[in-house]
Symmetry: C2
Subunit: 299 residues, 2 copies
């Protein structure tokens, strides 16, 4: 029988995952609080219908919203789907959330007979649209089996991290710690270089071939060279995601001083009104402090 799936949250990541499911020949519903992406997805071949009628027909529900509060609202809020899902339907929870929250959601789904795959995603909107995400997944064998069609349609790599919810979100938190610190450190190093007479373009040319490089440096430093802060990933992601890291760390008695320091720099960027810019804009915090200029875009 053809799998019917609904994607909740049609931002850039969710929209791409919904498109990937369509390409795989699935029946795909798209839901979002905004009307525009829902209408656009219907024009792309997506299905529409009243949530209460659609939910019982679903084999899988992919939740790609921004944060834990939104996940809880989609699953268990006043219009929550879980009470309407059939037993054995799987929820793929793709937002970055605390591991403890993922365990709680999984338990509440289990109480309703619904399977839960803790399935945070990585890779960005381009890979989402191409069905080439990385998924850091954990959950029961039943949840993995019920989710397999969706995982195949949306991802290039599935990391199978254990048989209980929480492990996927824990690994995502570890990755976000590194990614968030690496972007801020790139900004610190690049702007320090400017104070020493090193042009940002020279920084990129040299450092990407040296031991100081990182995946994030190679991805984000060119935005500073171009002076282009079009938000591929916004500054505001980091107060949220590093906040999850620190909340989780604190609950385990773990001190993460480098993460705390990077978070403070992102908060300064938000205070400067840069929250909606590309996260490479954290370099502007350093530039303003030091009184140096970064490249300006031509647009």
């Amino acid at each position: 029988m053809k799998t019917t799936v609904a994607v909740f949250g049609l931002g850039s990541m969710g929209y791409g995952m919904a498109q990937s499911c369509l390409r795989a020949g699935l029946d795909v519903y798209g839901f979002d609080v905004a009307a525009e992406p829902v209408a656009r997805f219907a024009a792309d071949g997506g299905k529409t219908g009243p949530l209460a009628e659609v939910a019982p027909t679903l084999g899988a529900a992919v939740v790609v919203v921004l944060n834990a509060a939104q996940v809880e609202s989609v699953l268990f809020g006043s219009d929550g789907i879980v009470p309407h899902l059939q037993a054995g339907t799987v929820v793929l929870a793709c937002a970055t959330v605390p591991p403890e929250f993922a365990r709680d959601m999984a338990a509440r789904c289990a109480a309703a007979g619904v399977l839960y795959l803790d399935a945070p995603i990585s890779g960005g909107s381009v890979k989402a649209a191409e069905g080439r995400l990385s998924i850091m997944a954990s959950g029961s064998a039943e949840a993995f089996a019920a989710a397999e069609t969706i995982l195949n349609a949306t991802s290039e790599t599935v990391f199978r991290l254990g048989d209980a919810a929480g492990a996927g979100s824990a690994m995502k938190a570890v990755n976000q710690l590194l990614a968030g610190v690496h972007i801020a450190t790139m900004a610190e190093a690049l702007t320090f270089g400017v104070t020493q007479g090193i042009a940002p373009e020279t920084f990129v040319n040299v450092i990407t071939r040296c031991a100081g490089t990182s995946w994030m440096l190679e991805n984000r430093a060119p935005h500073i060279v171009a002076g282009d802060y079009t938000p591929h990933s916004q500054v505001t992601i980091w107060p949220k995601d590093l906040g999850i890291v620190l909340e989780t760390a604190k609950a385990s008695g773990f001190q993460a001083p480098i993460t705390e320091t990077a978070l403070a720099q992102y908060m300064r960027a938000v205070d400067m009104g840069l929250g909606g810019e590309d996260d490479a804009a954290v370099a502007k915090v350093y530039a303003e402090q030091a009184g140096v200029s970064l490249p300006e875009g031509t647009s």
Copy 2:
């Protein structure tokens, strides 16, 4: 005429560079405060002789000592070589030093008619032995020309960073900022993962394929997985090199809070008696704080 070169400092980096010069067919003298590497190098085909007699015969002097004080001692100390060098001889200064110090040394060499190439190296002892270092070089066209034979013999990549001493050392400081922070951040993330039930081996397997990866993570995290802290590069390097970064930053009015925080973690490692271990041992600072265990080696 065959170039005669002396290498000052026969630690792992200097010894490798001296060997590379030998392989290139040059006449190579090796000097060190320790007798053992000098004798070993002589057995490998190196030349020996009294410094005051050797110095006037040199086309190039490669200085590969640990820090600025040792560079100054080699060049201008009581047994310093500069007064004995012929005009036009080039000094390749390879230690990691403050840019301002490099400018000062270059000026003092110039006053003696000696050329100076600010030439910090990167790549580790294996690449040093293979003649495949990266060199971040700046200096006059005359200095580059006089150093060309040595650069060819010892390096895979020469970054030509300008016509004055200081630019090479500035880029090295930028690289060390990134490399030092990335190792400490790897330690923070890996140990945080351990508190969340993620095994170090799983951390390496997943993160090296995700956006959170860095060159240093891929190089150093396997040491923690193996529980092997044989010092390929010691913890004590980082108080020195991040100290240079912060001293240089301060002189320019630049605040580097992430670097400061990483430095504090390395200082804690030194306080724990780990200064002589591989720099991946900074993870032990986090593990002790959190009360978790890291893998132990089998040796």
